[in-house]
Symmetry: C2
Subunit: 282 residues, 2 copies
């Protein structure tokens, strides 16, 4: 077991773990939350990754989304990583803003100083952590799905679009669909990746689709009362990019829902069933 157990609790007849491990990519200890359903054991079960949004840790999804009930029924392992490296020596936003630095890794491999040393969430999630999950958990790595919220929706979409073979199911809650075209994304990418906007396209779901990336399907839920809808999230950009490219997209505008975990909790069952169908889960 490469993971040190920080806590574990029985939950819906399975076990909710919080793990810590030393990350080679970020150069820091990293925490993650993992739910192991009762079906896991000698038999390996599918894995669904959940990437969280700005300011979150591994905890938010784990305590607020109500996902374990459905994962227990469907036999899915849930993996919820942290959203950035953390620690005394990890550089943060100079003004301590919530939308950059700690809790705001944006799922990139930073190339610019001083971020490049620790902010390697892309490689962490594309290579290091999947290898540890495969080695440490009863996880069938041939059956992976990925979903996320807000910044984590951006992470889920871009990681999947860059490696469609890895994931059989992809979905997002209120994702940042085009970081190149919103203040959160422009701030993050200009600092982490530098001023050359062409190099940002690898981190923009709409640009990846324009550049030819494809997935079998994408499920997106977006609340119509989300305070970030018009300024940051802009689902119409994803809708347009998918329509132009012939990329299948199921975009549901949910009337009156905001950006909170009350929104996620309401629709998490739909998303997990979407994943389970595509992962051949129970």
């Amino acid at each position: 077991m490469s993971f040190e157990i920080i806590s574990q609790a029985r939950c819906f007849n399975g076990t909710q773990f919080v793990y810590r491990h030393a990350s080679r990519e970020t150069g820091t200890p990293m925490r993650l939350a993992v739910y192991v359903p009762p079906q896991a054991g000698d038999a390996k079960v599918p894995v669904v990754w959940f990437l969280s949004g700005l300011t979150c840790t591994e905890e938010n999804f784990t305590v607020k989304a109500g996902a374990q009930r459905v994962a227990s029924e469907l036999g899915l392992i849930l993996v919820a990583p942290d959203t950035s490296p953390r620690g005394e020596n990890v550089p943060d936003d100079p003004e301590g803003a919530y939308d950059f630095g700690l809790g705001a890794g944006f799922y990139v491999d930073a190339t610019e100083a001083p971020w490049a040393r620790n902010y390697r969430m892309r490689s962490y999630l594309e290579r290091e952590l999947p290898a540890l999950v495969a080695e440490s958990l009863p996880a069938d790595m041939s059956r992976q799905g990925i979903m996320g919220h807000s910044m984590g929706g951006h992470g889920a979409l871009t990681i999947a679009l860059r490696d469609p073979e890895r994931f059989k199911a992809v979905s997002a809650f209120a994702p940042i669909v085009s970081p190149m075209n919103c203040p959160w994304g422009e701030k993050a990418l200009s600092h982490y990746i530098g001023p050359d906007r062409a190099s940002w396209r690898d981190y923009d779901a709409c640009a990846l689709i324009e550049d030819g990336a494809r997935l079998p399907g994408i499920l997106v839920d977006q609340g119509t009362a989300d305070g970030f809808l018009d300024s940051q999230l802009k689902p119409q950009l994803l809708e347009a990019a998918c329509a132009k490219a012939g990329q299948p997209l199921t975009l549901r505008r949910q009337d009156g829902y905001d950006h909170s975990y009350f929104f996620i909790a309401t629709f998490i069952e739909d998303h997990l069933r979407w994943h389970a169908e595509r992962l051949g889960a129970e």
Copy 2:
């Protein structure tokens, strides 16, 4: 509307509110969380009270238990009050301990100085808040249930045992069943109520049953891996008191579950269905 809206969010087709109001009983502003299901409106619906445990506010149950999904289906208003008065002028445990003072009102009317002025959670929950709920929400006050966790399980059981006509359903998660016989309770009652142990009996579910109080039934879930089981919770005392008195009790020992909200989330649906059946909800 006597309640000031602090926040509201759409959730499972209903609305999750956080309210604030000036309390006459505690002499402080009090917050509470209220879930209003989609069935409420012109029609009034039943109300289930949830009393939380040590250190909690109105938020813990609201974001962690996953109760709204079931309340939405069954058409139940959920009311989650805070666990004590709060504010600069409210006296706290002199050593800042978690088990007394702020976040630890124990659902009593304190009689001792300096606690007596603000710590009036009994009267707050027995008279003041129900009147405000009746006046402000689409709540059918002839159909009330009450449940709670740990210290809040103690609160739910004792409030119901003292006023069985008010509640058609009563349940608890890992309740403190006899504050007179555990360190948490002895500390709280000796400070809030004073040294005369006879006056504590009104705040002890087992003593109330011994003294003749009865309910139509009580549902209790208790995890066997709960770290407070032997030192503080002692469900066997409730079991013995109920057996001796002929008080119906459904006590379920849940194998491997601890004291956390992962335990509550796992069994909240059972409890809400227990309440809905007895409240004549959908």
